[in-house]
Symmetry: C2
Subunit: 190 residues, 2 copies
Amino acid sequence: MSSEKTSLGANVFLYPMPVVLVGALVDGKANFMTVGWVSRVNFKPALMAIAINHAHHTARGITETEAFSVNIPGADMIEAVDYCGLVSGRGTDKSSLFDVFYGSGGKAPMIVQCPLNIECRLHQTVDLPTNHLFIGEIVDAWAEPRFLKDGHPDIQAMSPFVLTMPDNVYWGIGERLARAWSVGKKLKGA
Amino acid sequence: MSSEKTSLGANVFLYPMPVVLVGALVDGKANFMTVGWVSRVNFKPALMAIAINHAHHTARGITETEAFSVNIPGADMIEAVDYCGLVSGRGTDKSSLFDVFYGSGGKAPMIVQCPLNIECRLHQTVDLPTNHLFIGEIVDAWAEPRFLKDGHPDIQAMSPFVLTMPDNVYWGIGERLARAWSVGKKLKGA
């Protein structure tokens, strides 16, 4: 082992984590929860997974409706996004914080104000000790043309943000560094 | 549905995705692969998941050794990180690109040059149509003191980067925007 490295123990986080609002219908009402444990997990079909504590109001809604949405907020929504992580839908109606729309599935509430909305149909639930890992198949995604470039989401127009824990800070997206699947070619044959 | 939103179809990605190097022993040799589909998935015990295409060399190594590492690279490593996503360990020896060390498990090769190293023991494999979702229990994590602040990883010192697809661009981390679990408090009772 490198002698300069210090052990940090097991409870470390990813650097950085994305920040999304997960939408679900709970008892027929739209509810939104802030989530940083989210990732694509399968290429074809397109699957996306979110990890949510068993006790969360949203977990019950996803289990019952077999649907959820992943909404990527912009930095201008940071106060509302943080608020959705502070209060539970069990005691607070979060449905009126945003304008809500639905896609073809009709059971995954999505947020008009978010630059990108991803509608998912529950594919599989993996029960882990403290969290449900909900794996959803992406049904469709939605964005306004002003958030697109060449037909795809444009991160600079979307202006999403990321999270670090346990210092609990939101960070913006920085400058364009390089082209992926390209900048490393110069090491080929090196 | 909001009339201004355009359908993008199902194959959308998360904005942004983190960028890590996953380490595994394959046929006894350290191998590293660039991965953007990664997330914490359970609070206690601390579990982290990575999604890797079935065909990848790394997938065989993780299945055989039941161990892997998640290494967070700094932006100064961007060419080597991209290179690890361009070439397979099947035909190219990537073990000599970095200085390698091992933790107590002894089966998860980690990269000295990466600011943060997370050692995982395989907890569960979820087989999805095109990808394996490897869920690992974090055994320990490692960082040099220069990458820590108050005993925890400091993203500004680490300088990780993120990825967008399908435009295939790496981006840096931007400015500090706000404190999480705090900035939204002003909406309470509003």
